[in-house]
């Protein structure tokens, strides 16, 4: 039981403040160190593991809202996780509607919460 305490403490040490990373796993084993890349989310620098999806990196950082809808301006996040429902889309490197659940992070990637269609104006009616 003291062991368990230690492993929780280690989590925090690794900078996983939200405690969302699955560092130890009975089947998958310990989380291999892996290369860390920096991404920028809404202007804030965040560390991500190379190869993971944007959605995973955000969840690990405690970010669950990926976008706000056009009509009701409601928050949306990860839903299907397989690139089908397109609810987790964000503006990535200036491109709107990028499916974050299937798109891997890359060093220096600039990610923004998407509002509506992510365009420079919501629709031509609102110009």
């Amino acid at each position: 039981m003291i062991q368990a305490l230690a492993s929780t403490a280690e989590r925090d040490k690794e900078g996983d403040e939200s405690g969302m990373r699955v560092t130890e796993h009975p089947i998958l084993g310990g989380l291999t160190p892996g290369r860390v890349v920096q991404i920028v989310v809404d202007g804030k620098k965040i560390e991500a593991r190379e190869g993971e999806t944007i959605a995973a990196a955000l969840l690990a950082a405690g970010i669950r809202v990926n976008r706000y809808t056009s009509k009701r301006h409601e928050p949306r996040g990860l839903f299907c996780g397989i690139g089908q429902c397109t609810d987790c889309v964000m503006v990535v490197n200036g491109v709107p509607n990028v499916r974050t659940c299937v798109t891997p992070v890359a060093s220096g990637m600039v990610i923004e919460t998407q509002h509506g269609s992510g365009g420079r104006a919501e629709s031509d009616e609102e110009v």
Binding site: M1, Q3, A4, L5, S7, E24, P26, I27
Partner: protein, 172 residues
């Protein structure tokens, strides 16, 4: 009031005793034995191949309920980690004067350690008594399914089927 596997999610005593994988009380008296808690006809038979003594038979079709040949079974426990449904246990009601031992699959981290006093749970996940960890076995052939053996008061041998997971919250 037990409502059965499909409502409560775990088998009742009656469902278990009706199944061909459940040892007789006489067999329990003679030492460790496998308890196969597989009471639904599902297409699955690794238990059959797991046993070196062919003490578990499924046969054809593979939806047959596993049948335990309690004379052949030595309670070695190889089948415990091989059952994909984690539905096989080894119970030794002769472990000591006052205690029985129960072996069960355990796929969580962290693992308990030998000698730890743990919270033993029944099929419904309720803590029913303390248990003492006797063994943790996790050889390669188990493919990451550890088998934990704990000692519990003899009267709990038919109830205890696991331990409460060791979690951060419970520490201290």
């Amino acid at each position: 009031m037990p409502r059965g596997l499909t409502v409560d999610g775990f088998p009742t005593e009656e469902e278990l005793k009706k199944s061909p994988g459940y040892p007789s009380e006489e067999r329990f008296k003679r030492g460790p034995v496998a308890v196969v808690e597989c009471v639904q006809e599902i297409p699955c038979n690794p238990c059959e191949l797991a046993c070196p003594r062919k003490a578990i038979q499924v046969g054809v079709p593979i939806t047959n309920l596993p049948r335990l040949d309690e004379e052949k079974c030595t309670g070695c426990g190889i089948c415990v980690a091989r059952c994909p449904g984690l539905a096989i246990f080894v119970v030794d009601k002769t472990y000591s004067d006052k205690e029985a031992s129960v072996s069960f699959p355990y796929e969580y981290v962290p693992l308990p350690r030998e000698g730890d006093v743990v919270l033993a749970v029944d099929r419904a996940g309720s803590v029913v008594c303390d248990g003492t960890v006797l063994r943790i076995s996790n050889p390669k052939r188990n493919d990451r399914t550890a088998v934990v053996t704990i000692a519990v008061p003899k009267g709990m041998a038919d109830e205890v089927r696991g331990i409460a997971r060791i979690r951060g919250e419970r520490i201290g």
